[in-house]
């Protein structure tokens, strides 16, 4: 399929010059020439895939965690099912969905959402359960109903755990969305697969590095978001 030996034939990448023709490790010229038509769109598509998956996953997982918070028996089945989904390697899950939903964005999103469920569910539920019993007592003593207590006391106190869950889910989805390029020609995985046809090193490295950078930046930004959202937590943890 891919032959690394001999001189790889570089298709007409244009604007590359000698570096691209010699297939050196990284050709900055080629990268900057193709930022606009290849990498920037891929990066934006990647962000869109990730945002949709995390948002949908957040709604599903948080609702289920709220249910499990009230009805304890719900936790077991949900964790078992989402745990199995979480364990299935992404390359396999994407392909297993193709016979059902085809080579579509929907296929990619279903798989990506399924990887967020366990993470967010577990963090939300843990956060809610860790609200100290004394705090609940005090809330009850002030005459709060169960719903008021959830909104005004339990959820705010669970916020750091919730944000941590969203952060892990986001980073995970950014990682897995590269694999989605197997089923849809979108995201930063797309240039990687394009590069497989030509074994053009610059394209591999550029797309890979962008994906790594995106994940690290998203991770960092969510840490800052967590601090901004929960100023009171900063005093406690480092």
């Amino acid at each position: 399929m891919i032959v690394a030996a001999a001189s790889p034939v570089i298709p007409d990448f244009g604007g590359g010059g000698g570096c691209a023709r010699a297939n050196r490790t990284f050709c900055w010229d080629w990268f900057s020439a193709h930022w606009g038509d290849t990498f920037q769109p891929a990066l934006l598509q990647h962000l869109a895939l990730t945002a949709v998956a995390v948002a949908v996953g957040f709604v599903i997982a948080t609702s289920c965690a709220l249910v499990a918070h009230r009805r304890g028996w719900f936790e077991g089945p949900f964790v078992t099912v989402s745990g199995i989904l979480y364990t299935i390697p992404s390359l396999a899950l994407f392909q297993l969905l193709v016979p059902i939903t085809g080579l579509s964005v929907l296929t990619a999103e279903i798989a990506l959402v399924s990887y967020t469920l366990l993470i967010i569910f577990r963090n939300v539920l843990t956060g809610l359960r860790e609200v100290p019993e004394e705090t609940r007592e005090a809330a009850r003593g002030m005459g709060l109903t169960a719903n008021q207590m959830l909104v005004r006391v339990e959820l705010p106190l669970a916020l750091p755990a919730v944000v941590a869950g969203v952060r892990i889910a986001t980073v995970t989805v950014i990682s897995l969305a590269t694999v989605a390029a197997f089923v849809i020609d979108r995201g930063l995985g797309a240039p990687i697969f394009a590069a497989l046809q030509s074994s053009f090193k610059t394209e591999f490295i550029a797309a890979g590095a962008l994906a790594v950078a995106l994940a690290l930046v998203a991770d960092g930004l969510l840490v800052l978001a967590a601090r901004a959202l929960t100023p009171w937590a900063a005093a406690g943890t480092s």
């Binding site: 990284f26 390359l91 396999a92 539920l125 359960r129 860790e130 490295i205 890979g208 994906a211």
Partner: protein
Amino acid sequence: MQAFIESFEFMVDNLGLLAHKTLELLALSGAAIGISLLVALPLGMWLGHLHRGSFVAINVANVGRALPSLAVIAIGIGVLGLGFLNVMVALVVLAVPPLLTNAYVAIEQVDPDAVQAARGMGMSARELFARVELPLGLPLVFAGVRTAAVYVVATATLAAIAGGGGLGDIIVNQASYRFPGVVAAAIWVAALAIAVDLALGVAQRLATPRGLRARGPVLGPSPAAAARSAGTAPVASAPGQGTPPPAGT
């Protein structure tokens, strides 16, 4: 649905091929896990024993989790070329962080009272580690091994694009194996990952000292969650700080 039926026909017709590719995948994953264990466990446990380097030991998992596996493989292809070396480097880079962090946390979080008591009984540092810290920390170490193993199986599948072989070869080569073959291999990979997860879950249970097993949940706050997806580590103490490392890539 037709594709699933055809994929089972493919399985029946190509049992030998699938078995061969499965063994290839297991050998590759096993080698990568072996190397990672040799690198990560001694270092993580040693740091945990000394109660030093928490910043590095915990954050390495955060950074490691953020590394997209396909991107690591792609960069590897660019720098190291196609082949076994690239694949092994990528797998080890991705497997070390969860192992290291869990090994560190496992030893570091051993009840200080137990450590004090052991010191009071006159144990040397080596005895303390071998007879107190290691047995008490072992379940959490195993949780890390479990996470890393599932992650490596998933990534080794992807590594087929870099010449890693294994079941991934079939999944990424639709031209040769047709769609039923791709689906069949995907089913096998999924089953394999779940089997590895379950097998290591059992091993984790067996590694738990009997005294702790009776008390039930050893790892983290929510027993079911901890039992399920590996590496649940200390969700309670610090959410998102080296908490559930990745799996199922």
